[in-house]
Every structure is written in C-alpha cells, then in structure tokens.
C-alpha cells in the first residue's frame, strides 16, 4: 500500500478583493464575481516566494508524517514561479528542513499541474521501492498582467505531500495522466507575464484534458462518481471546476470542501493540491477522493485516494487549510498590491 | 609609567564639508593641533577611523595622513573600534608616551561620511553584521529597541526623552565648530521624521564630515611647549557583546560601566568629582543610559534627571557642553578626539560661553556600536 503519509498546506496572510481590482480597471464587479465565482485571492508577502511557501507547506506535512526528514529520498517542487531560472527551489528546501544531502531533487514546471506532477513522481518512486519516502510539492506565486483577467485569479499558496508505505493516511488507488500539445497559455523565457488564448483555454484545453483524464481514471478504476465522498479539480476560476465535475457526474456537495478558489484564487501548481489538503483535513477513514489537475500546454494528472484509519490521528497536528483561508487576513489596496508583486518599476 | 599631557588640539568645523576630502580634513586638524602645541615634528601618529574603506574606498590611511601632514617617515597606524575609534587612538598614543617609547605623539580621528549614499549600511557594519545587520536592523533601530525597553521598564516618557537633544542643541549654540548650532524645541523633536520607532530624526546624531587631532607628550616636558597643558588623568576601556540582543539587560551598557569603573579607579576619583562630561549621545537614549552607567544618576533615574535640568549649567553635572554628537556632529572616527578637545578647552578655561566654571576634572565617554566597546577618559586641569 503506497500513499500519502503526511500532508500540509500554506496560505499567505495577505489578500486582495476582486472588487479592489475591478474598481482599479473600471470592471463591473458584479459581472466579474458572477463570471468567475471569486471573492478574493491570496497575495504573497514581500518576503514570500515559491521556496518559502513550499517550505512552510512541507513543514506542515512533516508535522503530520512524524518521520525523520533524513529518510526522505526525493524532493520535487512543481511551480511556474520558481525564484531562480537556474538553481532549483528544492535545494533551499532540503537544507531548510534537514533533508539530505542524500536526496534526489528536481524542480518541475507544467503551468498549473506541476504540483500534481511532483506528487506523481514522488508516489512512483516509493511504489518502485527506490526509497522509503518522497516529497512532492505544488507551490506558486503566480502573476497576471495588470488589467488582464488573470489578475483576478493568479494567487499564492502551496501544498506538500509525503508519500510512503507505512502509516499511510490516504492510499493511492489509481492514477492516470493525459497530455497533448495545446498552446492555450504560455510564458516565454525572460517574460514577466504569461500570455493566453482567451476562450481557447476553455473547451479545447481545460475541459478536453481534465475530462479526458477524469473519465479514463473512472473507467480504469471501475468506480462511479457516487463512490466518492469528495472530488477536487484544478481551479483556474470558480466556474470551470464545478462545470467539469458536473460533466463527469459529481455533485456540488462532493466538490464543496475542495473548492477553495473563491477565497484563495488560482494558486496554479498549488491549486488542486491545496483543495486536496482541505479535503484531507476533514475526510473520514474509508472515504474516497477523486482529484484531477490541469496544466496548460496541456495536460492533466488524476488520482484516486482512499483515506485510512490513521488520517483521523493527524488532521489536527498542523494548521488546516480552510482555517488558514479564514484566519488572519491583511487586505491590500491596489497600490500596495502592485508594489508587493513588483508590478511597478523600482529605482536601483 | 610616565604621566601624560595634552599640549595641542585642532579640529575642522563639523558638517557637510563638500570641498574637503579625507586627507584634507585630517591635514587641517593635524596642522592646527601642531600649531597649538608649538611643535613642527611629531614622533608617531595614531589615527582613528571607522570605515574609510567603505566611505571613501581608501584604506591604509595612516600612511596617507603622515604624507599629507608633512610627517613622512614616522611610524603611524590606523586604529578602529567603530564610533570609539578616536578614543582608542588617544589610548594608543597615551600608552606610547607613558611607556617612554615616544615623546610627541599625535592621536587623531577622521571620517568622511558624505561621499557615499548608503551611509546607513556602513554604520550597520558596527553591529553584528551576520546576525543583526542581516535582518535589516539599522543603528537607530538598535538604539530604538534600547529606548523602548527603557521606557517600558522605567516609565520614561517620549517628551522626557526629547529633552536630551533639546539640551544638547541649546549647548551647541556657542560652539563655532558645531554642525547644527541652533536651539530646537519640543515640537520640532516630536514631529521630526520617524527613523526607528520610537526614535525620530531629532533623536539621532547626524551624518558628518570632520577631523580632530590632539598632541600628547610626557607631563614633565609639557611646559616646554605650552603654558596650559591638560593632564590625562586616567583612561578606561572596555568591550561588551557585539550584538545588542546579547546584552543581559537591554537598558544597560556594560562596556560603559566597566570603562568608567576602570577610569575612576586609575584616577582615584568618584563620579561626584567630575564637573562635566562629554558623552556619546549618538541617540537620545544613549546619553541617558551612559550617564547612569558612569554613576552620575541611578539606574532608571537618568532620563528624568536630564529632563529636570540636572545635566546642564547649574545642574549636578554639565553633560555635552559642546552640543554633543547630536548638535556638534558625529564624524564617527573623529568623535572621540573631538570630545577630548572640548574637555581640554573647558579645563584650559577657553570654552567661552560654554565654559563650565571651576572645573578641575572632566570626563569623556566614547562608544563603539551598540555598546560593543567604550572608552572613558578623565582629564585634569593644571
């Protein structure tokens, strides 16, 4: 039995309301909130980046796993906002957490699915008996260009998962991945902001890959949507995951707990992974979880988890995701926001 | 050990000396001191300077200075102990004269602070670079934490704290070398820019260019050169923790207490014997804590005593008759020497409208960093 033996999330304290962004650009906030189903999003502090977020989430995962960090044999961080173009985020993380130096480290990038990718590889290592434990993380401090629709959603946060074979919290029952060349969203080298194909990001990209992956995963497992207590899908906005879930046959109730986007925004590589942590915070032993990520470019990773008895013992050992989302919030105005996100040009 | 006298003093005006480089300033102070002492040749030089390298990119300044003051060939060395560098130069010169190794020795100090923009960074190198400055804390920030701890512990008010710069500015009005020789009122202090809460701009000594020099010789030879030598009665020096957080009590400066105790012991004197003191008021709170550590006021009482006029003319002791670092200016390496120059003028009786009457003993106290080092001198009128 291979599965998650420790999990943790991290949510920054700073927020900006959708209304604040809308009033800056003269957008209709009622239409925005109705269209995106989003109220506010997280903003990283000026001293936070993918590395610090990944470490905060991983420390929470380690608290729940209760294992010696020296036994972690691989660390993968998935992000589209690694602070260094050349120098892996994971190198900082291992030294901060007392992992290694006997450890395999790599940074992943696959738009919004780099986190599930890191989880998939970490899981596979343990399954192949390459190591006792492996750590997969999705974390981002993603950016949307000023005035672009992405500005309402691109947010910050992350989730970390330690995979192992003993004291498993949630078993991985099935996985499936689905990938094609679809240029719906991209960012070229040295560019500050991504570009996207507008509505091309919808049907031919998000829905094609996510539904493709999800339906094959269901087929592989021989399960039906009603077999699951919870389902979580990549959340580029509030609407897409709910629509995708319903198309696959899931109900609103099954999706409620993992649907964190209305308060968090799209945390890119951390999106469906943080949704998963919110589910793990309350899931009961024996319940099953259906998860499908999506990354532009494009592809989806799907997982089916089954919660084990041990989960009940560890849920309270670290901060819960929805508690962090509803906890201390420091709201920024638009001027503070652009300074925090370095969207204005500073002098030398 | 021979007794040692100061026979000559010289300094530049303190301020923004845009037309003078570090060598120009030092040469001016040195030549004035030599003229004052009636000597045209010295045997040795010590020059105190905190950071000529970071401020002006010039190291090896002892050689620069001997070259530009017409004393090529003599032995010379730069000494550094952050803002206490000048006093350490005097202590070094004192030891060389007292030991009999040399007779006419100059101790000087210099700092050229206006040649670069990021002076805050340079000053922070006097703190624990790896474990204080690295966090972003500044020098005003360290003293601000002392001030907050003191206010919390002893109930000192913001207004009482403001009385320190108000007093020192009042003293500075009669000092022709002072950078800011004007009076300042309470409102000006309390509405000045916040630098590091609770310290505002007017709690902080300024950025200053300047140089100062004194000439030491054996007491027995002093009258050969001048009629009015001043004796260096005692020197006490001490070090303390480099990081403020390692001070057991954040309202104490152990290095100052130790340096003071050593000086009193060497002089055979007690605090009540001292008529005036030039102390290191790099920030308003510093003068209060230093005055307590030197025994002029009890712990926790210094702030209120100074606010009540106990540290000005007519009070228990006159502190910072020159205007102190706050109003006279604080070219860090020169400060300790300039303090001694003020003491010499007071003990010669040539301090003009700043004159402290009937002064026999005067003290100077110079500090490095947030109490990482301190030097205390006791001077005696002849």
């Amino acid at each position: 039995m291979v599965g998650i033996v420790g999990y943790g999330a991290y949510v920054p304290a700073y927020r900006i309301k959708a209304g604040t962004i809308a009033s800056q650009w003269g957008d209709d906030i009622v239409a925005i909130e109705r269209g995106l189903l989003m109220k506010e999003k997280t903003v990283p502090g000026r001293d936070e980046d993918t590395i610090t977020i990944a470490i905060a989430a991983a420390k929470n995962a380690l608290k729940r796993a209760g294992i010696d960090p020296q036994k972690i044999g691989a660390v993968y961080i998935g992000s589209e906002s690694h602070p260094y173009a050349v120098k892996p985020s994971g190198t900082v993380l291992v030294d901060a957490m007392g992992i290694g130096p006997d450890v395999h480290v790599a940074d992943f990038e696959f738009a919004c699915k780099a986190g599930s990718e890191a989880m998939y590889v970490a899981y596979s290592h343990v399954k192949a008996d390459n190591m006792e434990y492996a750590l997969g993380i999705g974390a981002d401090t993603s950016q949307g260009a000023p005035g672009d629709a992405l500005e309402y959603s691109a947010s910050a946060g992350g989730a970390a998962f330690i995979f192992g074979k003993t004291n498993v919290l949630a078993d991985v029952l099935y996985t499936h991945s689905y990938t094609s060349d679809t240029a719906d969203f991209w960012r070229r080298e040295y560019q500050h902001y991504p570009r996207h194909g507008g509505r091309f990001t919808g049907e031919p990209a998000y829905f094609k890959h996510l539904l493709g992956c999800g339906s094959i995963l269901l087929e592989k497992s021989g399960m039906k949507p009603s077999d699951f207590a919870h389902a979580v899908f990549h959340m580029p906005n509030g609407k897409f995951p709910l629509k995708a879930g319903k198309t696959l046959g899931f109900t609103q109730e099954q999706m409620d707990q993992g649907w964190v986007v209305n308060l968090m925004g799209n945390t890119y590589s951390g999106s469906s992974p943080t949704g998963l942590t919110a589910i793990l915070d309350i899931v009961k032993p024996g319940e099953k979880i259906f998860m499908v990520s999506f990354g532009s470019g494009a592809g989806s990773d799907g997982f089916i988890f089954e919660a084990q008895d041990k989960i009940a013992e560890v849920q309270d050992l670290a901060p819960k995701t929805r508690d962090m989302l509803n906890g201390k919030k420091i709201y920024l105005d638009y001027g503070q926001y652009v300074a925090y996100r370095k969207k204005i040009r500073f002098g030398e | 050990m021979r007794e040692v006298a100061i026979i000559g003093v010289g300094m530049t005006r303190f301020g923004e000396l845009w037309d003078q480089g570090i060598r120009d300033m030092f040469a001016e102070a040195a030549l004035k001191a030599m003229a004052d002492a009636n000597v045209d040749k010295i045997d040795s030089l010590y020059v105190g300077c905190m950071s000529s390298g970071l401020y002006t990119y010039q190291e090896h300044i002892a050689s620069v200075m001997t070259d530009y003051m017409g004393q090529r060939g003599i032995p010379a060395a730069r000494v550094e102990s952050a803002c206490a560098s000048g006093s350490v130069a005097i202590r070094s010169a004192f030891m060389e004269v007292a030991s009999g190794m040399s007779d006419i020795v100059m101790a000087g100090g210099v700092e050229k602070m206006w040649d670069i923009e990021d002076g805050t960074f340079v000053l922070a190198t006097a703190s624990d670079q790896e474990y204080e400055a690295y966090t972003g804390v500044t020098f005003p920030g360290l003293y601000a934490m002392m001030a907050r701890a003191y206010m919390h512990q002893y109930g000192l008010t913001r207004e009482e704290l403001a009385q320190v710069p108000i007093k020192n500015h009042k003293h500075s009005v009669h000092n022709p070398n002072a950078q800011y020789p004007f009076e300042m009122d309470m409102k000006t202090v309390l509405t000045s820019s916040m630098v590091a809460d609770p310290l505002r701009l007017m709690d902080c000594s300024p950025i200053t260019d300047g140089a100062a020099a004194v000439i030491l010789c054996p007491m027995e030879m002093a009258k050969q050169f001048v009629k009015n030598p001043v004796k260096i009665k005692a020197i006490g020096a001490a070090t303390g923790p480099i990081a403020l957080h390692d001070h057991k009590d954040l309202t104490r400066l152990d290095a100052v207490r130790l340096a003071g105790e050593r000086a009193y012991k060497m002089a055979g004197l007690k605090p009540s014997d001292i008529s005036f003191a030039e102390v290191h008021d790099c920030f308003s709170i510093a003068e209060i804590i230093v005055a307590e550590e030197l025994g002029f006021f009890d712990y926790g009482k210094g702030g209120k005593a100074i606010a009540n006029g106990e540290a000005t003319y007519g009070g228990k002791i006159v502190i910072n008759s020159s205007g102190g670092l706050k109003a006279k200016g604080h070219p860090v390496g020169a400060t300790g020497v300039a303090q001694v120059i003020e003491a010499v003028e007071q003990l010669r009786g040539t301090a003009g409208k700043r004159q402290v009457e009937n002064a026999k003993y005067g003290m100077t106290q110079n500090m490095g960093g947030s109490g990482g080092s301190s030097v205390v001198h006791i001077l005696e009128a002849q």
Partner: protein
Amino acid sequence: MAISPRYSREIPHRYRLEATKFKSGKVYLPTRYICPETGDREFEKITLNGTGTILSYTIIHIASDAYAKQTPFAIAIVETDEGARLTTQVVDCKEDELKIGSRVELIFRKVMEEGDAGIINYGYKAILI
C-alpha cells in the same frame, strides 16, 4: 550584503536554527566555542524549537539600501524558549499588534535579494502567535 560563500556557511543557523547549548545550560545562536558568561567549553548542538518572546522591538522607517523597499518593517529582539537571544524581523502583522512580551514563532522567509541578478538570501523571521 552577503555573498554566496558567506551566505552558505550561515545556513545551519539561519535555516535550521542550529544553536549551541553549553553544559551550564546557556544557549546561543550561532555557534560559540566558549560560553561568554561562564567560560564553559563543553557544549552540544541543539535545534531551537522556534518559539519565543519579544523583549523589545522597533519599526524601521529608514533602512539601508538593500532593505529600503521593505519599509516600514518591524524588528524585534526575541528570547527563544531555550534562552537563546536573536534579532529578527516580525512580519505579517500591524504595528499596533506588537508588544513587549508578545509570543512569536520563527518561520522561514526571504530576507533580501542581492539585486535582480544576485542570490536570494533566506533566513528566519518571526510571526506573532
């Protein structure tokens, strides 16, 4: 300014809060080889648990260039529960939330960037708990 060799050698203290505990019980961050209080030379390496109490604090309004874009920011002297003293920024809080005696937890954050092209410096900071 830290440059990479200096930065790298401080990693055990700044990333993992590795401290020195002397036989006398005194704890220091970073490593010391002799206890400045007792002269004790027998010590063990310990890892601080990361919680402590604010002894004093300030809000920096004027900073050196490397930190100028962060102002105003809070700095505190913290005594950890093990007795080690350290200076640290306190983040994610408003000025009026800070008090002498406030409890804090040390977390991992970015301390500064050496320009847009230099290394990024990380280390401990504190948040209120």
